[in-house]
Symmetry: C3
Subunit: 305 residues, 3 copies
């Protein structure tokens, strides 16, 4: 598989609150590529959806959610930083951004009390957002980069789009930091399209039970417990498909699924995604076999559900 699109996605600066950059990239990509897709989707976006983007293919029964935002840092006062989402912070990590004086390439510095600062030749404007500088690495077996969470979810959706006949693809915002767009996206999918099934295309953790190269993870629960009858249906489809998958059970961790569960709509959801190492760091690492399994399983689920 060609991963150059994934590299571009990982390099795009779009922390929570500034997803308009990713939306612009996706709109451009879709306009340039959809002529080669099996079905041309209806595109929904604009001020009614803030910076979200929705693609509707044919007669949808299931929606796939992939969040566009990433973790990062906001410049506070002097050389202080406050986190956006839950980034891994280590002295020496490279950060980039842009303020009124121009582009920024600086370094992260963590003191003994865990407070986070930047090191740069000049002061940076208060309120500027910084993200990890992207060092995209591909080997025979692995992809490694910052922001595979969740640029890989977006990549999965764009691959899925090539052959998708019926379904919704929903690019959401703020997943890493407080949420807030899933409520109106759920309203759209349920009230206007009567869609009651959702898959969360996001990235999870390598653990003792979910390992590199063993297949895409189907999460039976995380901090939230989705309706188990729906989960069992997905496991049955995956089992029949012979696509490699792993079952995940965790007490913590969360996703856009949490907001779907709490929305005033009876929407079932399940998290289905590849596992990664070095979560929320510049060195997130995913096995290529798990990426391929993820894409294959999404194709299968969107037709079978």
């Amino acid at each position: 598989m060609d991963y150059s699109l994934l590299k571009t996605l990982c390099e795009t600066h779009a922390p929570s609150g500034e997803e308009h950059t990713m939306k612009a990239f996706l709109l451009d990509y879709i306009n340039n590529h959809q002529r080669n897709w099996k079905v041309q989707p209806k595109l929904i976006y604009g001020s009614e959806l803030q910076d979200c983007l929705v693609l509707v293919f044919g007669e949808p029964r299931t929606a796939v959610y992939a969040h566009m935002d990433s973790i990062g840092f906001t410049v506070r006062y002097e050389n202080q930083l406050v986190p956006i989402g839950g980034p891994e912070a280590k002295s020496g990590y490279k950060l980039s951004g842009k303020d009124s004086l121009g582009p920024i390439a600086c370094e992260l510095d963590v003191n003994d009390e865990g407070q986070v600062f930047y090191k740069f030749g000049r002061g940076i404007d208060t309120g500027t957002s910084l993200t990890f500088e992207c060092d995209f690495r591909e080997t025979g077996e692995y992809i490694q980069s910052c922001y595979l969470d969740n640029r890989l979810g977006i990549f999965n959706c764009l691959k899925l789009a090539e052959t998708l006949e019926n379904g919704m693809i929903i690019f959401s915002c703020w997943e890493e930091h407080g949420g807030g767009t899933v409520p109106f996206l759920a309203k759209l999918m349920y009230e206007q399209y009567k869609v009651k099934q959702a898959l969360i295309a996001d990235i999870t953790w390598v653990t003792e039970g979910v390992q590199h190269g063993k297949g895409v993870a189907i999460s039976m629960r995380d901090r939230n417990v989705p309706r188990q009858t729906f989960i069992r249906k997905i496991i049955d489809i995956a089992t029949d498909s012979n696509i490699p998958f792993q079952l995940e059970v965790e007490a913590s961790g969360s996703s856009d699924g949490r907001e779907l569960q709490q929305s005033p709509y009876p929407i079932d959801w399940c998290f289905v995604g590849a596992p990664e190492d070095n979560v929320h760091s510049p060195d997130e690492k995913v096995h290529k076999k798990d990426i391929e399994a993820m894409i294959s399983l999404y194709r299968k689920l969107m037709s079978a559900l």
Copy 2:
């Protein structure tokens, strides 16, 4: 009072995420008994309500919420367990469930670091849910069992249903673990029935201020502070009724009321329920006088509010 129905309710396996078992039991019970009720309710259920069940009697002004789910445990990897809700965990507690290999009766094991495991002769499928094995005990004064929280709330509603003329009874899901059905239940009660008053039929704690045998507890606040004008109205009705009750004021604890308060509907709510000892353990204990007071007060409130 005959408590055999309560015993059956306590024995039903329905942890958060698997409430369909309780819904099936209730539908069956209602179909078999409603001919003897004063008013036959309209039943609302189906995919629009996930696993919830709503009964509408006459012209409702007030809704009673009773959650169907219980706390429990999910099997993780190897012999590890993760909690569903906030169960009390002690080595030696008996757990039961079912997986692909058949029925399970195993034992809980807690290590020095507070991690929770099961002890069983074989491995249990990842994702299997386990609940406390039910040991239902009735004495002259007390009922003791796992899951009085909230099978007693359900029992209260089924007793109330026998004579209810106007009102809604709402059986909700996921109260013990993250919520998520109250938002669409609130939408239903408010948009379709214009009902703006809710009572939460759930179980609270015995404390220094709320004691066994002193009557049903009316909670003036817990983690949430409901609108005090509504609370005062309920206290006035209770005072006039001569039914024994106790006022509760707590800084913590929560219920379906929290989600009603946060819903986009102007719904007043009050928690009214019997107090119990040994909360979230296999040995929850409630005084029979408090159960009787709870049922009496619900009958009174549903006609007077």
Copy 3:
């Protein structure tokens, strides 16, 4: 500026859950003063809005939110208190309230374990709410009192109302303790008035980056990260206006903005408010220049946005 109205607002007892007292005061004030306002607003209130109050001027494009409730304490059992919101608690603070036996003026007592009690000549009814006794102080430069958070936000709105031509002013409840009215207020502003922009008129903290007398604070983020394109628009308007302002960036703290962000409506929001010292104590202190800057900036933003 004459601050006697602010004094009356600060003296009004309206902790979370009992905002009806503030609503009654505001309705009375508005009825007595709106004849002198440039535009007479439409007033919306009643059981559909619980204890909230909404003023609609002309053709609104932006809504201002000011919460009516304050922090305080609820009497538990014996002489125990539990907090409403997050009040500063120090032994010797004066508290006031009212119960079935009459008015209460008592003293706060904090023990070594941080538990909070009242000292009073008699027992106080369980469930009674107590608030700080108001000691309103005005000097040449400062206003000092309990509850400037958020009576100053209300004061700002009433000053804004005098000249407002197009806009909504929304007085909300429960901001200090769990929220719950913003969801239906957001529904009203969006569904009935198509308003998608909101300003949060509330009080923030003096910090190393936001200081007394340096102007009103525009918060670029707190615990939540609002959409930065909207924040930049506000900063641009403020910059052009020559009204003194300060940029705030915090990792914590929250406001009615949080609930707007999580509502199922695509509403942009920004917190704009004067900074104070001695937050949530009887001695909250705000610089008069910052109050004046706040009112001036609200006038500017409501016409320019």
